[in-house]
């Protein structure tokens, strides 16, 4: 118990440090960005016709008149109190913008995460067990093709097939265009999430499957599987009793570690499908110099990724008897 508390405490401190580092890095990058927020958001022509006083007002709105360090400190002071500022683009509190976008994205991310995790695991196990046979070659071939296909290209392909040619699925957005929020049904949301989730899953599967396959091959060649064979255990029983048990641990870690990849992939995919999620908001905030929003988004994604890894560690401790009983954490 004491040990677990210590573990949780250590990780909490680590997370705070990580978030601080991420916020500094993001801020530094935005400050160094060549994009002039005034030109980008107001437009060259409009800017030219404005009076100096108007420009001054805009400058202070976009925060360009203060030195970056000062701005960062101001932001950090507020953030520590839980106030992440107001999005310059959406003119709403950053937290509420993120809440809306995140709930849109989560829908996508969770579906893709579960599908790619389960299918990837299944395919990886099959490929590893039947190494070198047709099933393995099929899975490997699929993974290698997908791994060398850019996610946005795949997204466009799916769009072409399902939305343009077959016309069975909507082209973009997360809800039907021009519909009242209250009129949107769950089914609508699902229909809009299918293609982006599919793209993310298809790309996610290959990574999980290849890693699981690697592990599975190692296990099938391990001394304990050899010994089980030497004791007359049949292939099915070996997979069930020994291989699955041993591959589950690395697969679990991989699954939680893959959160970062799915989130990374979602930025591109949401862009292609104009899916109004966190990824798209991140792109908008970045190109539009919406510093408060960008900071909020990077922090929340960093925290999600960190939590994923943290949960993986916790689960490891629960599942792996060597850690559970030995109290060793590596």
């Amino acid at each position: 118990m004491k040990h677990n508390l210590l573990f949780a405490g250590k990780n909490f401190i680590r997370m705070i440090l990580l978030l601080a580092a991420v916020s500094v890095a993001t801020f530094a990058l935005v400050s160094a960005s060549p994009i002039d927020p005034l030109q980008a958001n107001v437009g060259q022509a409009a800017l030219g016709s404005m009076s100096e006083a108007q420009k001054e007002k805009l400058r202070s709105y976009w925060g360009v008149d203060e030195p970056p360090v000062q701005r960062y400190l101001n932001w950090a002071k507020d953030a520590l109190r839980g106030d992440f500022g107001t999005s310059l683009l959406y003119r709403q509190p950053v937290t509420s913008v993120i809440a809306v976008k995140l709930s849109n994205s989560l829908f996508l991310l969770v579906i893709a995460w579960i599908i790619s995790g389960l299918l990837g695991f299944l395919l990886g196990v099959i490929a590893g067990v039947f190494r070198g046979r047709p099933a393995d070659r099929l899975v490997k071939g699929y993974c290698l093709v997908i791994a060398s296909t850019p996610a946005f290209w795949l997204a466009l392909l799916l769009l072409l097939i399902f939305s343009v040619w077959l016309k069975v699925l909507p082209i973009g957005l997360s809800v039907p265009i021009g519909m009242e929020a209250s009129g949107v049904t769950f089914l609508d949301r699902v229909r809009h999430a299918i293609l982006p989730a599919l793209t993310l899953s298809i790309t996610g599967i290959s990574n999980v499957a290849l890693h699981t396959r690697e592990k599975m091959i190692d296990i099938m060649e391990s001394d304990y599987v050899l010994f089980a064979q030497a004791r007359g255990e049949k292939a099915g029983s070996i997979v069930r009793r020994h291989a699955l048990r041993n591959v589950l641990l690395p697969a679990l870690t991989l699954q939680f570690a893959s959160i970062s990849e799915i989130i990374g992939g979602s930025v591109l995919v949401e862009q292609v499908f104009s899916y109004p999620g966190l990824g798209q908001a991140a792109v908008a905030a970045g190109t539009g110099s919406d510093v408060p929003l960008l900071m909020g988004i990077t922090l929340i994604t960093a925290a999600i990724v960190f939590l994923g890894n943290f949960i993986a560690n916790l689960l490891y401790g629960v599942v792996d008897p060597r850690i559970r009983k030995g109290g060793r954490r590596t």
């Binding site: 060649e221 304990y224 009793r241 008897p321 030995g326």
Partner: protein
């Protein structure tokens, strides 16, 4: 067959094993690494046959070859017979865990994520097997709480005992034990050897792999001496009473190296597969080395023993001729001239 005229349980004839490996990290050319060459050894009913030899002489590989546990890059040639029947890969799958039991050399042969009790009994559900596992554990001083331990929680000696009990679970004809005793305390090592003796006396066979020649002489009926991937002599334990009754220069050197026989070490080391000498592998260390030793040296039968050395003239081992008859009319009790 042998001087005892007993039934062969296991007979291995000119077994060769080689590994195919890439020459180095940057090359796509594969080289063949012969690790066992033309090895012959046999186990009769009622016998404990000890396989002795220094580290790297191929003892574990022999066990793995018999059980069909070699890695995929290994090539095997030669014949193996079990109860007079040719041991094919298919046949082996039928026999292992049933007629042939194996005690592996190291802890890594246990599933790290399964409790040892469940591992030995191969399942939780079968009450009879559970009970048998418990009584075997008890016999080897493994308390009830050991059943629920994971391999990482067991000491080296405990693991040995767990591995040993796994071989005693079923009622095999043959036990192949790869270094079963290191790490066990003396009393338990003795007990395990007694159990092997009882098992053999019931008409079964034991192939006991060890590098401890004294242990081998204490419990075995015959000793097969390995050197650089092959048997150089197979002799009854009685022949180890004096240097004169032994045949091969290496066996004699092993004898002289024993504490009670003068403790004279043999200079030099066993050659590694990559730089195996031409002809007799023992040549570079042999004081009797002559030109004749450079050629191919067959295994020969001399009295009740077999030896691979040009100094001896005996009859060749002719296992195949014998077994061709054995296959058409499978006779469990055949004799060989």
């Amino acid at each position: 067959m042998s001087c005892t005229g007993k039934r062969h349980i296991l007979e291995i004839d000119e077994l060769s094993v080689s590994f195919y490996q890439y020459e180095n990290d940057h090359s796509s050319r594969q080289v063949e690494l012969p690790v066992i060459s033309r090895l012959s050894v046999s186990v009769h009913e009622g016998e404990i046959v000890a396989v002795v030899g220094s580290s790297g002489s191929g003892k574990s590989l022999l066990a793995h070859a018999i059980l069909g546990m070699l890695p995929y890059n290994a090539r095997v040639s030669g014949q193996m017979y079990f109860d007079g029947e040719l041991l094919t890969a298919e046949k082996m799958k039928e026999l292992r865990g049933n007629k042939i039991a194996f005690v592996p050399q190291s802890t890594t042969y246990l599933d790290p994520l399964m409790k040892v009790g469940e591992q030995v009994s191969q399942g939780r559900k079968n009450a009879a097997r559970r009970q048998r596992q418990r009584s075997l554990f008890a016999r080897y001083g493994l308390e009830k709480d050991v059943d629920n331990k994971y391999p990482f929680e067991c000491s080296g000696g405990m693991t040995r005992r767990v591995l040993l009990t796994s071989a005693l679970m079923d009622e095999p004809e043959l036990i192949i034990a790869d270094e079963p005793t290191p790490g066990m305390d003396l009393a338990l090592a003795k007990k395990s050897m007694e159990d092997f003796r009882i098992f053999a006396d019931e008409g079964h066979g034991v192939l006991l792999i060890t590098h401890d020649i004294e242990l081998a002489l204490e419990v075995a009926d015959r000793v097969a001496v390995f050197y650089a991937g092959t048997t150089i002599e197979e002799a009854p334990v009685a022949d180890f009473a004096s240097e004169e009754t032994l045949r091969h220069p290496y066996t004699k050197a092993l004898w002289r190296a024993m504490p009670q026989n003068g403790f004279v070490p043999l200079p030099g080391v066993q050659p590694y597969v990559k730089d195996m000498p031409q002809g007799c592998p023992f040549g570079p260390r042999c004081s009797m080395y002559s030109e004749k030793c450079q050629g191919d040296i067959p295994m020969q039968r001399v009295g009740c023993a077999t030896v691979r050395c040009v100094q001896y003239k005996g009859e060749p081992l002719a296992v195949e001729a014998h077994h061709i008859h054995g296959e058409t009319a499978p006779a469990p009790h055949h004799t060989k001239t």
